[in-house]
């Protein structure tokens, strides 16, 4: 992917302040990658500001984002974190209501109810203790370890900053998730970041949808936090941790399809892609590893010829999360609901014959970035994940990430018969999460000197 982007990058097309934007927003992850997510607690404003000062040299800007090279660090803050850092009241009040409330208080909007409700979350999520998140990622084990040691050494020298939670992650060349599927293929391209149209990735979307302070799809600049020095070139990040019941998914396939081929086809119908990442649209009958691994082809398709979902079910995970040119039954502008996905898997991927819980922790850190990430994820969760109305499917939910609770329904239109699968379980269980603000580099400096 990075080689593709290097060729498509044109400096003349850059009209956003790349040197002030944190790299993670635009930079594609190296493949393979090694990284760490750390959640931090500040005991005082001084401690938090000192940490920002120490980390600033490690935080890379999005300049030269098309050349993913060295280890890069990212820092983001919860509203509680910004309060501890004693941002001026006028600044704090200028943040969106959803961010100020935090993810746990938005549970109903996010459909985080029943077993997904905040009272079942892992600590410290939703407790107000998390003030900042730091992410370090590199393309080799050595670079990652080096950057991590450096960051930890700085942290060790500081008093008043507590490491609440550390999670390491890595991905191989195949970038597979714990279900055994290539993940993170499709991401929006951003206008003004210097790229040409990439086949199948759609028209570049206005920068204001992803970075604060620029015009969005409607042509208007949305609200951003005060002062401009703080808000502009920043964005919001949604972090959600899921535990994956892969054994339940494997069992569902075995209970509902006979041969290995039929099971793989049903699974592909649920995801929208085969295990290699090859989309059903391009290879409806069987997996194709060459297409799956080819960044020029694995996302280059539309639903123009598949209005009824006979190849890619309207209700499958991939088509729900990015309907592309699907005719929707609720008026909606797909470009307004895209997110930059930076999710990473954790834990091992069990064999597809494993149908009993081995008790291991595994799943996904869902990380989504957008100028209105809270609105977007609340919209996705309530309208596109846990509903079927936008595709005229009644109450049907996303078969992979919906809160299906053993009562889920999944419709697979076919050439002749239309099949409806019942009793879908909740395959991905919410473990907790937070809303973060991801400031620009000048804003970070300002925050550290308040």
């Amino acid at each position: 992917m990075s080689s593709l982007l290097q060729r498509l990058f044109h400096l003349s097309k850059v009209n956003i302040e790349l040197d002030d934007i944190q790299a993670v927003i635009l930079r594609n992850r190296p493949i393979p990658y090694f990284g760490t997510n750390a959640l931090l607690h500040f005991e005082s404003a001084a401690a938090g500001r000192e940490l920002i000062k120490k980390l600033l040299p490690l935080i890379t800007s999005a300049e030269d984002w098309h050349q993913a090279e060295d280890a890069s660090a990212t820092i983001a803050f919860t509203f509680e974190g910004l309060r501890i850092l004693r941002l001026p009241d006028a600044s704090l009040d200028s943040f969106p209501e959803s961010f100020r409330e935090g993810m746990a208080k938005r549970a109903v909007k996010l459909n985080d109810v029943d077993e997904h409700a905040p009272e079942h979350w892992q600590k410290p999520f939703g407790t107000g203790q998390i003030h900042a998140a730091v992410n370090i990622i590199a393309d080799t084990h050595e670079k990652w370890q080096h950057a991590l040691e450096k960051a930890k050494a700085e942290l060790g020298l500081l008093g008043g900053v507590t490491l609440l939670h550390q999670a390491d992650f890595a991905a191989t060349e195949e970038a597979k998730n714990v279900f055994g599927y290539r993940d993170g293929i499709s991401n929006p391209t951003i206008e003004g970041s210097g790229v040409d149209e990439v086949p199948g990735f759609g028209k570049p979307i206005k920068a204001g949808e992803f970075i604060l302070g620029y015009p969005g799809e409607s042509g208007a600049i949305g609200k951003f936090p005060d002062p401009e020095l703080l808000g502009k070139n920043g964005t919001f990040l949604v972090f959600r941790k899921y535990h994956s019941n892969v054994y339940l998914f494997n069992k569902f396939l075995k209970d509902n399809a006979n041969t290995d081929y039929e099971q793989e086809l049903l699974a592909a119908k649920m995801f929208g892609r085969w295990r290699s990442g090859a989309p059903l649209t391009l290879t409806p009958e069987k997996d194709d590893h060459e297409i799956g691994a080819d960044a020029h082809r694995n996302n280059n398709f539309s639903y123009e010829e598949d209005e009824l979902g006979k190849t890619v079910p309207l209700s499958c995970h991939m088509r729900r999360m990015n309907p592309r040119d699907t005719k929707q039954s609720v008026m909606s502008d797909v470009n307004l609901h895209r997110i930059i996905r930076k999710g990473v898997s954790y834990g091992s991927a069990p064999h597809k014959d494993a149908v009993i819980d081995d008790g291991e922790q595994r799943g996904l850190y869902f990380i989504a970035i957008s100028a209105k990430a809270m609105d977007t994820v609340e919209h996705l969760q309530s309208q596109w994940v846990n509903e079927g109305n936008f595709i005229n499917h009644g109450d049907e939910k996303d078969p992979i990430i919906g809160l299906n609770q053993g009562k889920g329904l999944f419709t697979v239109p076919g050439a002749g018969e239309r099949r409806r699968y019942h009793a879908i379980e909740t395959f991905n269980v919410m473990q907790g999460g937070e809303y973060f603000f991801l400031p620009g580099l000048r804003a970070l400096k300002w925050m550290s000197e308040l």
């Binding site: 409607s218 600049i221 949305g222 609720v330 008026m331 909606s332 307004l336 309530s382 109305n389 009644g394």
Partner: protein
């Protein structure tokens, strides 16, 4: 009136409502209870209501009335939205204010941005007659709407479990099934 008096009056009303319901109501098995939901209005099952009373610009009533007369109810923009069960405009106080009421699926603030890119002309044509309308693309449009919103105190929905899409889909299915049965009765000899 004393607290005790209020309580007694309450009790009387509860008894009266109970008796009225006992003699004159039915249970269709659907939950019709309303809850305060999201920013503002009431929600009954999948359906929400929005009630707004807002001041009109000079000449706004005349302009809006003319638009509505020309349309005669054929507001194609609302059809396109796909979630609107009904909407109405009522002019109040000598044409100085307008009452806008609508019932729709889900929550209105989820889709304001979509309206701004998909049907901006229609939205502004109708609502620019309101004093101070910031424009559908404005970052403050949600706050503007909330400022004039009055949550309903009572509301009844016959089918709280069905969206506009559900109703239309069910209609197509019933017609299709009836047609198939009719076709099957044709004597093919």
């Amino acid at each position: 009136m004393s607290k005790i008096g209020e309580t007694l009056d309450d009790l009387k009303l509860i008894v009266q409502l109970y008796l009225a319901k006992r003699h004159e109501s039915a249970d269709d098995g659907f939950d019709h209870s309303v809850i305060a939901h999201g920013r503002g209005g009431l929600r009954s099952g999948k359906i929400s209501e929005l009630t707004v009373i807002a001041p009109l610009r000079e000449g706004g009533a005349e302009r809006l009335r003319r638009i509505l007369e020309i349309a005669k109810g054929n507001l194609g923009g609302a059809t396109l939205v796909g979630t609107v069960h009904d909407l109405r405009f009522v002019f109040l106080d000598n044409d100085t204010k307008v009452l806008f009421c609508t019932a729709f699926d889900g929550e209105w603030d989820h889709y304001i941005e979509d309206f701004a890119t998909k049907i901006p002309e229609m939205m502004d044509l109708l609502f620019d007659n309101i004093e101070g309308w910031p424009g559908i693309k404005s970052a403050t449009v949600k706050d503007f709407i909330l400022k004039y919103q009055i949550p309903a105190s009572g509301w009844y929905v016959a089918y709280p479990h069905l969206t506009v899409n559900d109703v239309l889909r069910n209609d197509v299915i019933v017609k299709g099934v009836n047609k198939a049965i009719d076709d099957a009765q044709v004597i093919r000899r």
